[in-house]
Amino acid sequence: MDIDDILREVDPTVSGVPNETSDLQSLTRLWVAERSAPELLEWPSGGLFERINDRIKAQIEKIEILTGDMDPKTNFALIVIQTELERYKFLVRSYLRARIAKIDKHTLHYLSSEELRNRLSETELAYATRHQALLHNHYLSSFLSSFPTQLQNLNDTAGNVSMIDSPDLDAAVFIRMLRDRQVTGQGTDADITLNASNGEILILRWSSAKSIVEDGDAELV
């Protein structure tokens, strides 16, 4: 640490959030949001996951090097590093699993339009397409083939009833405000608008909350 670092630390005009912390905050926020939201959310852009994966890889290599010399002094540091790595990996794993669970539940829905497909990452898209193809083939060989041809579709929307199951976008969610702003929510008896302040927790429908969360003015909890 030299004098510049010290000056930067006490300078109030520089936001003092280091890169690692803001990445961890972003990952945590994504994880909590994915666990709480009724539908699949956008895959993060801006290389967040590449960055995180690279760091995890580098950390694993470091552990491999450190385990080589079993000096009791570095031993404790090794335990700390491994504990933290496991915590980080849990976050990543739980986030990806929450996403796969949603994709599994409404595969056809997320494959049905370009806009929805764009929410999936490349690997998720490959997984969803292959999974759906396998499933369809299996259905075909086991029972669908004995149906009349016009009834063999799995994505029929005839008669105003869609066969494609989609998530309930009006489900209630909890959000925490990150900035002061007005919030409008649709309710059964009345639609109301209220001023919400930073840190306030609100319950409202996901359909009303979505735009606020996407603006970054609130987060799911």
Partner: protein, 252 residues
């Protein structure tokens, strides 16, 4: 099943989040800075106080390498004030959460530490310093319950008057749980679009999440047809008048 858990964080996940809260420790041994994925830890030199994540603090505490300094809101006086506030001053709402962290600049003005630029990440619990020794007394942070439970379980010898703290926390939790139930009973009179739970804690939210969302969902399904006809009526009554304000709100 890729993830056999219900939507919304379950208590064990909330506890996991809470372990990311920063807490102030007094080290008892030297420990060099460790490069972690979430940033390097401060190098520990007794008796200089440092803020580190709770999971690390608990690890150091278990190995008797450090003592944890409980945050000011976990002291007996602060908890008594909070209970007084919850029961006498404001028997309907929760006590207010701690104010957003501010920092004074050279000209003597206080600015919010966390307002951030347009692309800066806005920090929120558990990344705000709400459980360190610089946190304000008399305001419960978002992760108050889990944090207090964990400290009492693993570092009760570091908390002054731990048994009093424990019983006060129990009282506080009961008062606040009763408020949660009353706020649900308030739904009987009608469900508005937005319900505010200012000052609620993470664990309180997690334990009543299933119930609250169940009630709100149930009411929504029961009132779906009434809601649809209300919307139709509003549209008929003067589509232009009614639509304008909601369009404005979307633009904000």
């Amino acid at each position: 099943m890729a993830l056999p858990l219900p939507p919304g964080l379950v208590p064990s996940e909330v506890a996991f989040l809470c372990e990311m809260e920063h807490v102030t420790i007094v080290p008892r041994q030297r420990l060099e800075s460790i490069e972690l994925l979430s940033g390097a830890t401060p190098s520990l030199r007794p008796p200089r106080r440092e803020d580190i994540p709770l999971w690390l603090a608990l690890l150091l505490k278990k190995q008797r390498r450090a003592n944890i300094l409980p945050p000011p809101w976990l002291h007996v006086d602060s908890l008594r004030d909070l209970i007084h506030h919850e029961t006498v001053t404001d028997p309907t709402g929760w006590s207010l959460p701690p104010p957003p962290p501010v920092r004074a600049d050279g000209r003597g003005n206080a600015r919010r530490l966390n307002s951030g630029g347009p692309d800066a990440t806005v920090l929120s619990p558990p990344f705000l310093p709400s459980c360190t020794s610089s946190a304000p007394a008399g305001a419960l942070p978002y992760h108050w319950f889990e944090f207090a439970e964990m400290l009492l379980a693993h570092a009760s010898d570091d908390i002054p008057a731990a048994s009093d703290v424990r019983s006060l926390l129990r009282d506080l939790q009961e008062v606040r749980a009763a408020k949660m139930r009353t706020s649900i009973a308030g739904l009987e009179s009608g469900v508005d679009g937005v319900m505010s739970l200012l000052g609620v804690g993470a664990m309180e939210l997690s334990e009543s999440r299933g119930f609250v969302t169940g009630v709100v969902e149930g009411v929504r399904k029961l009132g779906a047809s009434a809601e649809a006809s209300r919307r139709e009526e509003e549209e008929e009554r003067g589509g232009a008048d009614d639509d304008e304000p909601s369009d404005d709100d979307m633009g904000i």
